[in-house]
């Protein structure tokens, strides 16, 4: 019966009044209910308006899920969209055209955006270079610095919890003959400063430590790391994609030499980012994009004015709203945590609670399988592991670096809270998560055994 319900819409078309009618194609049989005559496959008709349901990947969801995946990307703020639209409508000039009004106004808009981004991080506008995103910035920073100084410097230091693009760039450098030290992190996610200081060699070209981790939300001690790097004379690069506009950043106070910034993590458009390159002392990089020498030769290619204007607007808004958003995110995170902990036990927070950006909460639920939990949470848009690694079934390398056990790493869920998250959404997320966790634990024999007091590690599973 369920099968015919799925086949029917493909073969026949629903009409007002509730009947079924065959589409006007060449059929041998006349229109008959339950006709199984094969037909050219038609897309299923859109669901009727009262249902308002969405069918995606074979799953029927009754409405758009509530969005709690702010670390993957954020919605564009309406104020940002308002700033961008004119540049898609009538101000469409190329900012590098020097000979007419379209070029001049476009260039003025780009420079204004540059100044806004610089103001948010305490930099000079001449130190900001626009790119296509934080991944490109990380590539330029890691590969560009290493290659520029390749005659005298052959060593790069980074951490095990960095974003995949930094780790991949470092692996690429290893193939070119560089030595790379991947610093381990403590179980709370923070890097050990003594280990960092020991690892720095006279021929170290770069230290790269991300500001706020995208998976666990941990904030690294940037000021201390910057101080150590300054003493040793090594450039300090930080991937601040998740930190920009959320925690205060000051490139001078933190001794930052290079910084990667991304627009779509702070309610800006996707496809644009910025690289901060210190002028005093000047950090040199080898450009990764050859071309017309735009952006002072650091990154060739037409600067996308609408995206850059959106980025600038997003930074301006973030500067004004940082305190308000931070307070709200902290309150909502506490509400989420308290709500979940009040109803289920054996919930572990991955990463330090003190050094944390409150909008990122990564929880592991013991005795529950992660994929089944996610499948049951189809009305909440959350993620397990980062978006970059969720294609594979491997547990997240970040959690592994924290020393989280395999079974707990598999069952981790990351809740992202942002500017537009409401209390009701948090309450609904708690309700749905608790319901799903309880359901899965009821079915879990491991949970039963654990409740009975059996130590799971002592069990000898029979070998066949």
């Amino acid at each position: 019966m369920a099968l015919s319900r799925r086949i029917l819409p493909v073969l026949l078309r629903r009409v007002n009044g509730g009947g079924w009618v065959a589409p006007a194609l060449s059929f041998s049989a006349p229109a008959r209910a339950l006709s199984t005559a094969t037909a050219a496959a038609e897309p299923p008709p859109p669901a009727s308006d009262e249902e308002e349901s969405v069918v995606v990947k074979g799953v029927r969801i009754s409405g758009r899920p509530l969005y709690m995946d702010m670390q993957a990307t954020t919605p564009v703020d309406p104020r940002v969209l308002d700033a961008m639209l004119p540049f898609y409508l009538h101000r469409y000039g190329n900012p590098h055209s020097r000979t007419h009004l379209y070029g001049w106004e476009s260039d003025a808009a780009v420079e204004e955006a540059r100044a806004r981004i610089a103001a948010l991080v305490g930099a000079d506008p001449r130190e900001i270079f626009f790119t296509s995103g934080a991944t490109e910035c990380n590539n330029i920073a890691v590969k560009g610095v290493a290659r520029f100084y390749r005659d005298r410097r052959r060593h790069v230091i980074t951490t095990q919890t960095e974003h995949k693009c930094v780790l991949d760039s470092c692996r690429y450098l290893q193939q070119e003959g560089f030595d790379v030290t991947y610093l381990p992190v403590r179980s709370d996610g923070l890097v050990d400063l003594a280990q960092l200081e020991e690892a720095i060699r006279p021929d170290t070209a770069l230290v790269s430590v991300m500001a706020v981790n995208n998976e666990i939300g941990v904030i690294q001690p940037l000021e201390e790391i910057g101080r150590i790097c300054k003493e040793k004379g090594v450039p300090f690069h930080t991937d601040a994609a998740q930190a920009l506009g959320k925690v205060p950043i000051d490139v001078n106070r933190m001794g930052i030499g290079l910084m990667s910034l991304s627009a779509h993590k702070i309610y800006g458009p996707k496809g644009v980012g910025a690289l901060y390159l210190r002028r005093r002392p000047r950090i040199r990089v080898e450009p990764q994009m050859s071309g017309g020498g735009q952006e002072r030769g650091i990154r060739s290619g037409t600067v996308p004015t609408p995206l850059v204007v959106g980025f600038g607007a997003a930074c301006e808004i973030a500067a004004k709203e940082m305190d308000y958003d931070h307070r709200r995110a902290a309150a909502l995170q506490q509400r989420l945590l308290d709500g979940i902990r009040a109803q289920v036990d054996e919930v572990v927070i991955n990463g330090s609670m003190e050094h944390r950006y409150p909008g990122n909460l990564n929880l592991s639920f013991a005795y529950v399988e992660g994929e089944s939990l996610l499948m049951g949470l189809k009305e909440v848009a959350v993620s397990s592991g980062s978006a970059c690694t969720s294609a594979s079934l491997e547990p997240s390398y970040v959690l592994r670096a924290l020393g989280v056990e395999e079974d707990m790493a598999h069952t981790s869920i990351r809740f992202g809270i942002g500017r537009f998250t409401t209390e009701e959404e948090v309450d609904r997320a708690i309700e749905l998560t608790v319901h799903q966790v309880k359901k899965l634990r009821d079915m879990s024999p491991l949970y039963e055994m654990a409740k009975a007091g059996i130590d799971l590690k002592s069990i000898e599973w029979s070998q066949h």
Partner: protein, 94 residues
């Protein structure tokens, strides 16, 4: 635009601006933006109620009027592209 420093807005003007914000917020088709506009406007007006000196109050009022224009435009844009299915939060409890 008047170059002279504007006087502090009258109480009725401020209330009228606030009501306009709430009205505009209701017109947003997106649940999250609607709630945010309402909440942020309420919090901003509450915070600025304490502003004692005139230039600051006048500046806040001017800023508020500008933001209202942005909100009105965006309410139109969002409604032009509103998706057919609404957010889960707006559906009847199941």
């Amino acid at each position: 635009m008047a170059a002279a420093a504007a006087a502090a807005p009258a109480r009725s003007e401020v209330l009228s601006l606030f009501r306009s914000f709430l009205r505009t917020a209701r017109q947003f088709s997106d649940y999250n933006i609607r709630e945010y506009t309402r909440r942020r406007a309420a919090d901003a007006f509450r915070e600025n109620r304490a502003l004692a000196d005139e230039p600051a109050a006048a500046a806040a009022f001017a800023e508020g009027k500008k933001q209202l224009e942005v909100a009105k435009r965006q309410a139109v844009v969002y409604s032009l592209y509103a998706p057919k299915s609404k957010s889960i939060m707006e559906m009847k409890l199941q």
